[in-house]
Amino acid sequence: MHRTSITQARELLQQKKLSSVQLTEAVFARIDQVEEQVQAFVHLTREKAMQQAREADARIAAGDEAPLLGIPIALKDLICTEGSRTTCASKILDQFVPPYNSTVVEKLIQAGAVIVGKTNMDEFAMGSSNENSHHHPTKNPWALDRVPGGSSGGSSAAVAAHECVASLGSDTGGSIRQPASFCGVTGLKPTYGRVSRFGLVAFASSLDQIGPLTKTVADSATLMNVIGGKDPRDSTSANVALPDFTQALQKDVQGMKLGIPKEYFTGGIDPKVEKAVQEGIRTLESLGMKTVEVSLPHLDYAVATYYIIACAEASTNLSRYDGVRYGYRTEKSDNLVNMYENTREEGFGEEVKRRIILGTFVLSSGYYDAYYLKAQKVRTLIKQDFDNAFEQCDVIASPVTPYPAFKLGEKLSDPLQMYLADIYTISANLAGIPGMSIPCGFAEGLPVGLQLMAKHFDEASLITTGHKFQQNTDFHTKEVPL
């Protein structure tokens, strides 16, 4: 029963063949069975969830048809939840209990969702493996000696291992799509500004975006209908009408143009990953899409541009953690300045410090123009590449990552190698466009994802394409060996 998708569960719940209490109990029984191995969660909100499930059953009995009524959902631990800890997988926020709900949580609760718990992540969403968590590393449910990806690794592993029906993550440079690819689930990073960031702990404010991790594309359409839309409390949320994304599930891909960026298939990519991605593209062709070659010539500069901009924004965003107003404070201090310094030294992990230092450097006097301003200009070029490409196609298809899930510890000692693994995903964040990862095959038993990207606010085309693909393939239904 815990293996259900949102769509399946909703049907059973509304027909009263299943109660939310039964479904929620089944999910927690599954958590009890596999969580010791997977370690996807930072903490569970079992009692609250059971109460929400009982309330959902009462609402269903009264004829309520809210879109997520009674569905168990997990949240990445940087999405603020009123009265329950939101740690960002950092020591500095380890005991932080937000006094308010983020907008997405308010919307989920209104839609009737049951909140299972908070999922593990790389500290402050900085990382591609979940090994930078202050709590513990999460394991890939497909192979427990491998990483689930990051930074939303807990959210993707929890969905793959059926420890929740769906989850929310956040994506600053690939943090939804890369773990979705590594864990064989569907991950959607919406257009920048599509989903409110109010109550999302900030990493890089011009890039961060919340999105769904689900078992199917149809489920991500349901979740997008709930979480999307303009929010007066987030001034960067866009005032653009929210379509009914479930309508995109009915559309055909016949005649749609699929752009293949030639730069994404040259060198550095694992041949087994490339083969799965190429076969995925051929499947879409066989379903009626017409492929065209497009060019995104500044791909090679995306990683450098991203790390300058993301670290600069992070260094300013994280300056708020001073040990005064909330969060951790050092025991060792005799004046205000060394209280700040010791609090931050003890409270942040090494990757966070690395990025704060790099961000401080690129913004510092004498280096601002050479690094930060330069990166903002290259960001314009990368955005223009996509504008040009989308004149020739509706959707762009590419790999998500150059290789499948790697082993725990394999890349920890070489930050640059870890950064380079994000090469295919970060351009979408720099350009602000939506991107999706859907399972398209396996490389030696490990899932491989196909990335689909579309124009600003055209998540509907991703949903149409992804859903058509899943109706004609069964990669997304394969089960983890747990």
Partner: protein, 92 residues
Amino acid sequence: MSFDIEHMATLARLRLSADEKERLSDQLGTVLEYIEKLKELNTDDVEPTAHVLGLSNVFREDEPAQTPLAVHNPISDSPAHDKGHYEVPQVL
């Protein structure tokens, strides 16, 4: 390329151990060398992008807002507070 890690740590209000300083210097040196790549591109006539949607000055109507925080005293979230004030070590 090397840079003054001591100075950056001071600006960022981070105390780093000697061991951390050495390791971070080395690693960030490699990252900075990689970042130099951007200099290959001529961007003289390119406008910088700070924000992809081009929004500026998003205002709301100047009306009283309903806020759920009204009943919450944020000082109670502080790791050290006394009589409704934040407590900090000596400043002067």
